[in-house]
Subunit: 620 residues, 2 copies
């Protein structure tokens, strides 16, 4: 059996298809689910009469409402078709969007009829258990111990990140409450040592406080409010999502307590700089509240050296008695973990994994991915305290559906509205999801959408690994084709064509510059103009030949990381130093079709023709 | 024309119907919307070949995925039908749930295919403008000036409440930043006066700081983190939703800075206690950060005297130079405003309104609703700073869909990630919704669901007023029937049957107690047992005859407010003082059908028979 053929077949059955190839199948299942619901209504006390009579439905006022309903829906449908981005087509290589799973759309719709609210079990007897299940799926996928971990669905990655910071902030304040209430439990520890207890030590300490938990809460940040002296610094890479800035504001810790770490030329947090920064803080006796590493940055898809961050924490703990919380922001890259996990849930050894990816046709043999850097970063996820992972990104389910997993479910006590030990208090208590998380009311339907996806597609190399593998493979093919091209002939002149970096995941950033132009503003303006003609906004979407997104890489945000790209494009070092900003086109290659060799070839040719045409027009 | 008849007809056309009476119409429109999407896919570059071939679809591996998809969806559908609450039936009078609008389900589904993300305009060219429109609908409904106000959809009421507190906290810290950076602008003001500037004064002040906004932010709570000394107290009624406790923790202000105000015997915040509390704080020179009034409490549907809170602020401003932020938590009751607003968007005069409600058949003539208390509270919404209003509650749209409206859009600068004056910077900027709110990624589909509802159903007495009027009317009929009954004969013994209060909105709490029993625990246990047999959880849902929810009213939470109810049930004052807790059954009468006279009669009889049967069994 040709595994490559098999792979393509499977993936294609999971989506509606760029030409609605699976539309009839979709409608067939849809109508079954709708009928299930309609008959269920009738079957709740069949003896109850209908309330609406057939005669009533013939009344003009009734017909009027129906007519208006049709007209409003038609109007909504027109608006959507007029301007929506064509994510279903391989011509769309823009934002972090693509086809979503046909089964998840159906799951969402099916559950929506029952309008479950996962805030409390009584509002969602069917979908709360599914959330517990899905949360554990995520925790296990990421390598956490299923007996200790917990996870749940959030409305998005921003809220999941905020929840991560909420955990870190509240946990860090506990030792100071203990010092006040039960000093004997932390006898001999200085304030500095209280600020540097390991998360698991603090959780053990909390275990001794069950009887006075309310008092403990009242004497920690929950009760007292933020106390900057105890807090310490929250360290993030320069490539962080802006939700981290928002979170620092919302959580009351303040932007002055957030430190950005310079990234290297691969847009990964520079671990030497991180180490120096922490050493600098130690010298001033300023605690580190926590460190965030990003698995799949928003603009570059970069994967931070999470393994090195974890190793650094171990080193600091051992050598200096300094510890801190680690949160992995894997909102984007989290589901990528499935590529490394085999059918038995084992994180494969490196060589085994690479061979498997080649043998199964997930990654082409001429593509050097995953490197050991990427592999090691993913492997380290199991060692962090909390992880953001969004099903509505690489889980291919509809918005809004983010998620968070935590290594140790005892952490929930620190943010829960209820008394300590929510998971011990009774069978029902873990079902009151709204009391243990940042949000309150939440759609059971979005949980159902993920549940259906997880039931259908294993969270390992045979399932999600195949879809995400196809996406990563597609991105690398795109990158390799750019590198193979390098120069275009436009109106008789040479134009440079460069990609930002070898993708860590599935984003390819690129730009063009006419040979001889050293003016960074001219180049940036060209990129802007190309984007304006390739944007999902503006002119009629149905006429766009290729749709992408763009981003600006500035010195303010990234230091000199983008300088190399600028220089490869022919910009002088002086110009970079002066302007300090390059604009690039940004293609998130999420399309499940782009990995298909026939598709890549066809769409690459179209893409190149389209770019040449645009450049010819713009450089006239 | 009989307006009552017309009313019933109209409402009935808006929902699927308790017996799926509108199921065929629904499926017809649904398939149109699905086809629109499927053909749109095909019409994006018709010249592109399909990627999935007909042959491929015949492959066993393809069929296998399809088979598994059907099986997983069947399994989801079974789970949902096995345990979901039958909200579509008038037999369900439990949690804040009922039928949702047929048109909104269709709107959600239609938009979901395009998977819009309203975080940024590029991800949602179709649905971001709808969110701006829907946000303004809410702001206008609540009485805000359309030229100054703003509003948006949130994932839920908890996040909307948090955003309200975020506004209050950040705005209150600005004067202190100004004192540091431009002392001349606040010359002569003491710290006490800086803590007591009016919101509009602070917004005007912010207007003079545009050029140094980044510095201002860095020197306010956003940059510095929470400073308890500047903060002041956040005042809420005892009946507050627990999201306010969560919000105080998340926002870093601490529970010690939250003050609960005793409620009166109508479960409304006691304004005298509020005034005394504020005077007490003034004596100690502790500022008031803000006051929350609830329009529709979660457990009782009580409507706080918002007008008196607003009047109190005016009085304090005038007499003592003391001001504070006011947030109305109208998550539940917000859409009820439509009852008071006429076709021209005018908040009707009291007499005009009452006559209109009777003439249009919204409220029966023998029902004394709205009282002037309720009327005045709603009228005062226009005067507060921010309001939580959830479309997924009385807007009858699917989860998850909360909302918030603010009186003055200049407030957005205080929580926005970007520089000041987001609304002035350019046409596009208000479209970057994710940068001005607490959440990030968010479903355009949930916005579409509200938009469709607002297009179809006017936000006034002719539209939503009719639906919500029917709900309020139904609740009062239920309450009146309880009062008419008062005593049941069970096994030859009398059983008292009492409701908590005359409903301010549409919740009726009630309980039973056998004549002669003075033991509060016995009574509470009886209520618990009735609930266990009437709960949406537990035994097979399709066999339940009546479904309700329950709640506990304790002295800890409510002081002596529940004592009157206990005594009416035959419990002695001593018992109340000793135990301090009564359990009640809680019926949120959201059902759009319960107002229909024929329906009320039939289901009341069924309900009463059912209760008698349960009591007979339990009191044997």
């Amino acid at each position: 059996m040709d595994p490559n053929k098999n792979l393509i077949t499977d993936i294609n059955a999971l989506f509606l298809g760029p030409k609605s190839e699976n539309g009839d199948f979709f409608k067939d299942v849809l109508i079954n689910c709708v009928n299930d619901h309609l008959y269920w209504r009738k079957d709740f006390h069949p003896e109850d009469d209908p309330i609406i009579s057939y005669m009533e439905k013939e009344q003009p006022s009734y017909k009027e409402i129906q007519d208006k309903t049709r007209r409003v829906l038609d109007s909504l449908s027109s608006k959507l078709r007029e301007t929506s981005a064509p994510w279903h087509s391989p011509r769309y290589l823009g934002h972090m969007n693509s086809e979503i799973l046909l089964s998840s759309i159906l799951g969402y719709i099916t559950a929506m009829f029952y309008n479950c609210n996962n805030c409390a079990y009584e509002g969602s007897p069917a979908t709360t258990p599914l959330e517990i299940e899905v949360g554990m799926d995520l925790a296990k996928l990421l390598g956490f111990d299923a007996n200790k971990a917990w996870g749940h669905v959030t409305c998005d990655g921003t809220i999941a990140n905020m929840e991560g910071l909420w955990y870190a902030r509240n946990i860090s304040s506990l030792p100071f409450a203990v010092k006040k209430l039960k000093p004997e439990l932390v006898a001999g520890k200085s304030d500095w040592q209280l600020s540097n207890m390991r998360v698991d030590e603090i959780l053990d300490l909390a275990g001794k406080l069950q009887d006075i938990w309310k008092e403990v809460r009242n004497n920690s940040v929950t009760g007292l409010g933020v106390d900057e002296k105890q807090l310490g610094k929250w360290i993030v890479p320069q490539t962080k999502h802006y939700s981290w800035v928002k979170a620092a504001d919302v959580m009351g810790i303040g932007l002055q307590n957030v430190i950005d770490i310079q990234v290297d030329d691969h847009y990964r947090m520079d671990i030497d700089v991180l180490e120096k920064t922490i050493n600098g803080l130690i010298e001033k006796q300023i605690p580190v509240l926590g460190v965030v590493a990003v698995i799949g940055t928003t603009e570059e898809g970069a994967v931070d050296h999470l393994d090195k961050v974890v190793a650094l924490r171990e080193k600091f703990e051992k050598e200096k008695g300094v510890s801190f919380y680690i949160h992995a922001d894997a909102a984007y890259g989290g589901y990528g973990q499935a590529i490394f996990v085999d059918e038995n849930g084992k994180f494969m050894d490196y060589d085994v994994c690479v061979k498997r990816l080649h043998d199964d046709g997930l990654i082409d043999k001429d593509i050097n991915w995953p490197t050991t850097d990427i592999y090691n970063a993913y492997k380290a996820l199991a060692k962090v305290d909390s992880i953001t992972i969004d099903p509505h990104k690489m889980g291919y389910v509809p918005y809004a559906c983010g998620g968070i997993a935590i290594k140790d479910k005892r952490m929930v006590d620190f943010i829960s509205f209820f008394a300590a030990y929510v998971f011990e208090a009774g069978v029902m208590s873990p079902m009151l999801v709204g009391s243990y998380i940042l949000e309150g009311s939440k759609a059971g339907a979005s949980v159902a959408a993920v549940w259906v996806a997880h039931q259908l597609i294993p969270l390992n190399v045979t399932g999600y690994g195949r879809i995400i593998g196809a996406s990563v493979n597609g991105a690398h093919k795109f990158y390799n084709l750019i590198n193979k091209t390098k120069t275009l002939e436009i109106n008789g002149k040479k134009v440079r064509f460069e990609a930002l970096t070898d993708p860590d995941f599935n984003i390819v950033d690129f730009a063009f510059n006419p040979e001889g132009n050293t003016d960074i503003e001219v180049m940036n303006n060209l990129t802007l103009q190309i984007w304006q003609e390739s944007s999902a906004t503006g002119a009629p979407i149905l006429k766009k030949d290729f749709v992408t997104s763009h981003t600006e890489l500035t010195h303010d945000d990234y230091g000199d990381a983008p300088k190399d790209m600028a220089m490869r494009l022919g910009i002088t070092a002086d110009q970079w130093d002066k302007v300090g900003s390059i604009r690039v086109l940004r293609s998130c290659v999420l399309s499940p079709y782009f990995g298909n060799p026939k598709v890549t070839e066809q769409y690459w040719d179209d893409f190149l023709d389209n770019m040449k045409m645009k450049l010819a027009k713009l450089l006239k």
